[in-house]
Amino acid sequence: MITDQDVRYVAALSRIHLREEEVDRLRKNLEDILRYIEKLNQLDVSAVEPTNHVLPLKNVLRPDDARPSLTQEEALSIAVEKSQGAFKVPKVIE
């Protein structure tokens, strides 16, 4: 049902570099779980609306006023690497 290829594809979508020894076990785990999930196919849900979340809330807005917030310094205090007031990352384009 799920191939090693599928596992590598989903890992790539998830931005996880899987080591070779992880692929086989994850394939078996995912296969078991997806087989279990297939029991939902016993239900006809063609006429049922989806529930994204349970509260009858829509478009919760607040006045567009400036409020106190973290300073640039505070926000950058947790940075792994920073430079010139910004988060620094490895090269994006060669």
């Binding site: 599928d6 596992v7 989903v10 890992a11 979508l13 998830s14 931005r15 996880i16 570099h17 899987l18 080591r19 992880e22 994850l26 785990n29 995912l30 078991d32 779980i33 997806l34 279990y36 999930i37 029991k39 939902l40 239900l43 849900v45 049922v48 609306e49 989806p50 529930t51 994204n52 979340h53 349970v54 509260l55 809330l57 919760v60 607040r62 973290l70 505070e74 926000a75 205090s77 947790i78 940075a79 792994v80 690497e81 988060f87 990352v89 490895p90 090269k91 994006v92 384009i93 060669e94």
Partner: protein, 478 residues
């Protein structure tokens, strides 16, 4: 006097009468931690000693443990994941701010399954927490550290979070009280997100009275969480009356099925008889879509988790790892290596399952279908609550299992949440409280569920049962 063994409400009385000071209580709890923490392993880390000045007019200058997914300003908070090593949030979660305003003394951050992914606290990067009633068994999860800390008297009370049973199941396994409030009752601001439509923070306490008091401190509208609801917070202590006469209590037949441990079934049946004796009317009900809850949950929760955990990429905070060789481009290599080394096995499994359920070609078959079945499960409860005030079930199908028993089989681990997941999918409040012990001396939990925002009903039924039985008074020997 063994102050650490007392409830928060008992301590509050001693404080009011000036018989003890906050520092006395803090020292007693720290003394207990020194004695038992090596065996139990309830904490991810202990907090620095608090400032005892200015507590005089505070209502609850009492030690509290916080699950390691609640942000404390300036204190390392990691969700028991290597990927957040060294992360010091620059702000307090709203619940933490409210506790601090009440004078709370943070004693430490409790161990948990990594990112709350699990039912046993075995997937923590700090290693497993042990069940104080039997150190060879799990405390449940994912709030297993918080539950174990309360049961072992290493804190007076605690906050956990519950996405599919993560407060209630460990409460059941450790013989304490655990409450998942209605979705929207408590602000999630500063709770590190797992599944945003299901997560809710709640109290883990030694008795029902403390749960009512702790909920009162943390509940209420918060402009910083758009899903927190602007409804008044009642004085929950008013519900602590032994009055269940005439209440209609539903027993869903789908919860008493194969796989339910006979000792658990017996204890829950006896608990139902206690409520009946007190005048509650017991009604046989059906929640027909119960068998689909676990499958629905593992689509919805993992899909949301895969999206929420996209932020851990090594760019801004936490851990960053670069591979020694170039594979694609330097930044993509950094993302992928950081996530491979930073996430544990269960986190990877759930991220990948959720990513799969949301991916092109599978979205309708998995994610959309899950959302639709969620509607059916919620509808079951809407209908049931037209005829009953509360629903009573076991919290978990078994007592605490052995450490290592289910780690090789993720699906069997997922099924230990079979009775708790539906409350999250439906958004309703639910509480677990002790209702007996197995032959082997392991605690058994009783779950009570009610309509959205009917926490008062939960407290009424739970308090009446607790006062009639007194299981909560049993103390474990470590």
């Amino acid at each position: 006097m063994n102050l650490h063994t007392l409830t928060a409400h008992a301590l509050q009385e001693l404080l009011l009468n000036r018989q003890v000071s906050p520092a006395d209580i803090y020292r007693a709890v720290r003394g207990q931690i020194d004695l038992v923490e090596k065996k139990v392993g309830a904490f991810a880390r202990l907090a620095p000693a608090p400032d005892f000045n200015g507590l005089a007019d505070k209502p609850f200058p009492i030690p509290v443990a916080l699950k390691d997914n609640l942000c404390i300003s300036g204190q390392e908070t990691t969700c028991a994941s290597k990927i957040l090593t060294g992360f010091r949030p620059p702000y307090d979660a709203t619940v933490v701010r409210r506790l601090k305003e009440a004078g709370a003394l943070i004693i430490g951050q409790a161990n948990m399954d990594e990112f709350a992914f699990g039912s046993s606290t075995e997937s923590s990067c700090y290693g497993p927490t042990k069940n104080p009633w039997d150190l060879t068994r799990v405390p449940g999860g994912s709030s297993g550290g918080a539950a174990a800390a309360v049961a072992a008297h290493e804190t007076i009370w605690a906050l956990g979070s519950d996405t599919g049973g993560s407060i209630r199941q460990p409460a059941a396994f450790c013989g304490i009280v655990g409450l998942k409030p209605t979705y929207g009752r408590v602000s999630r601001y500063g709770l590190i997100a797992f599944a945003s439509s299901l997560d809710q923070i709640g109290p883990m306490t030694k008795d029902v009275t403390d749960a009512a008091r702790l909920l009162k401190i943390i509940a209420g509208h918060d402009p910083l969480d758009a899903t927190s609801v602007d409804l008044p917070v009642p004085d929950y202590t008013q519900s602590l009356r032994c009055e269940v006469k005439g209440m209609r209590v539903g027993i869903p037949r789908e919860y008493f099925i194969a796989g339910l441990d006979p000792e658990v079934a017996e204890a829950v049946t006896a608990a139902i008889a206690v409520l009946k004796k007190q005048g509650a009317q017991i009604v046989d009900i059906s929640l027909p879509h119960t068998p689909y809850a676990v499958a629905t949950y593992y689509i919805v929760a993992t899909a949301e988790a895969s999206s929420n955990l996209g932020r851990y990429d090594g760019v801004r905070y936490g851990r960053r790892v670069r591979p020694p060789e170039i594979r694609q481009t330097p930044i993509i290599d950094m993302f992928e290596e950081t996530r491979d080394q930073g996430f544990g096995e269960e986190a990877k499994r759930r991220i990948m399952l959720g990513t799969y359920a949301l991916s092109a070609g599978y979205y309708d078959a998995y994610y959309l279908k899950g959302l639709k079945v969620r509607t059916l499960i919620k509808r079951d409860f809407d209908q049931a609550f037209q005829t009953v005030d509360a629903i009573v079930t076991p919290t978990a199908p078994t007592t605490a299992f052995k450490i290592g028993e289910k780690t090789a089989d993720p699906l069997s681990m997922y099924l230990s949440d079979i009775y708790t997941i539906s409350a999250n999918l439906s958004g309703i409040p639910a509480i677990s409280l002790p209702c007996g012990f197995s032959q082997a001396g392991l605690p058994i939990g009783l779950q009570i569920m009610a309509k959205p925002f009917a926490e008062e009903t939960l407290f009424r039924v739970a308090f009446a049962y607790e006062q009639a039985t007194g299981w909560h008074k049993r103390v474990c020997q470590i």
